[in-house]
Amino acid sequence: MPICDLAELVSLIPDGAKIAIPPSRSGVAMAATRAIIAAGARDLHLVAIPTSGIQADILIGAGCVATMESAGVTLDEFGQAPRFVNAVKSGEIRLMDSTCPAIMSALQAGEKGIPFMPMRGLIGSDLLTFRPDYRVIENPMAEGADPIVTLPAIVPDIALFHAPMADQNGNVWIGKMRELMTMAHAAKVTLVTVEKIFDGDLMADPLRAPATIPALYITKIAKAGNGAWPLGLEGVYDIDKKGFSTYAKAAKTSDGFADYLDFGTT
């Protein structure tokens, strides 16, 4: 039975896990994130697919994160991500800075079970300087010299996201948020929170089946109404700008952040 409660869901995330998380507009499991903090997770390696915002910031602020791999961490219109910036400056977290298409390509290499994916660009960037795991080879298809970057596959221990609905069989409907499909394909374990349980078989519904992650890829699902709050969920609800700005202001200082963790989510 794939459906469980939120506490059981996050109990499947071991300390030190490499967790893939989606971009802020695309099904961020914020309720589960608060449950992860409550459970006291440590040493997580967050892989933003390919960027993150409040989710990475709050996990970093709460001391759950050892490594941040991303192409960008930002609170968007609410400014820089303050706990991320603070942790970078203080050296509390290890950085694996990248560029969006490199993270997407590396995740697709994970999905395809291949050790690497080539990508154009990056040569001459300091991103490459500080990513010794990104290697430059000669394009084997070229006649002359043609250097090209190869990116090692990202195989997350955990993919964690929030979706509009799942069914009792464990199928998860994601709509247009296709990166969630790639994450589930690539990850060893996929944990999902959903707004609601769909009454029927999503894979048997001709309109929903094409945008459904089959249960085969899903480890556990927990129901979490409004589970992306204060972020929005496409087609279901918008971002709560007031709730979001409460966080953005509080997180500007360590004390403010600590207060937010204690009281801000209740």
Binding site: A71, V88, K89, D97, T99, G121, I123, G124, S125, K176
Partner: protein, 240 residues
């Protein structure tokens, strides 16, 4: 006809996007977005526009890799990049000031720059703040380089740099900017004072062209309405 500084920038961008088949605009870019929509209106709809994070102004439905795949397929003719620092070789820095990784100032990150800067034929650098803080001799971290060595696959790269003070064109062969025009109300001296890098001067001083009244009307009606979806706050500069 009176116009706002943003409207001059939008108009200037629209002119740089003439005859483009498909223009894409990244996040947090209301002025480039408005410029792209104005270019689309002026093209009679021939110029396609993709505004990221918009609901109505894009057709992406294959996940976070699709925009980059489109660029690599050659389907995007123009894009915008910015930088916390931009230097005279058109290197851009979106990561931070000081030594990596423990920067004195840290920004969000490089996003798609390290690939799109290589693959999109016309990349317009846009940064309103034109000071010695933003326009530097040498960036502290290269998120994406302005030019590449011979042999590196690079069909794309910077074409122009547009700031709050003026418009520069970029010569890839010489890896240098040339001042193309100074915005009305500003001077070459002001630009020289506020630029940390060397650049070429034009033979004759040009002033950035001002938008004609009919263009301002188009901008304030059709474009203002459409940019509201991704940028409702910004669109308030044009009250209904």
């Amino acid at each position: 006809m009176e116009y706002r500084p943003e409207e001059l920038l939008i108009f200037t961008i629209a002119k740089l996007l003439e005859n483009m088949r498909e223009v894409a605009v990244g996040v947090s870019s209301p002025i480039p977005g408005s410029g792209a929509l104005l270019a689309q209106a002026l093209s009679g709809g021939k110029t396609g526009v993709t505004v990221l994070n918009s609901r109505t102004l894009q057709s992406l439905n294959d996940g976070a890799s699709e925009l980059f795949d489109r660029a690599a397929q050659g389907r995007i003719d123009a894009f915008f990049l910015s930088g916390g620092q931009i230097d005279g070789q058109a290197n851009i820095n979106l990561v931070g000031i000081g030594d990596y990784p423990r920067h004195k100032v840290r920004w969000s990150g490089s996003f798609g720059s390290a690939m799109l800067y290589f693959l999109v034929p016309r990349v317009i650098l846009f940064r309103e703040e034109h000071t010695r803080r933003t326009m530097v001799k040498r960036v502290d971290f290269i998120s994406a380089p302005g030019v590449s060595e011979a042999g590196v696959y690079r069909p794309g790269g910077p074409s122009h740099l547009l700031t709050g003070l003026g418009l520069f064109s970029f010569d890839k062969a010489r890896a240098r900017f040339r001042l193309q025009s100074v915005h009305p109300g500003h001077s070459i001296e002001e630009i020289l004072d506020n630029t940390g890098f060397d650049f070429d001067l034009p033979e004759t001083l040009a002033t950035t062209a001002e938008p004609a009244p009919e263009l301002l009307r188009l901008l304030r009606t059709m474009v203002a309405k459409r940019i509201k979806d991704p940028y409702p706050e910004f669109a308030r500069i044009w009250p209904d």
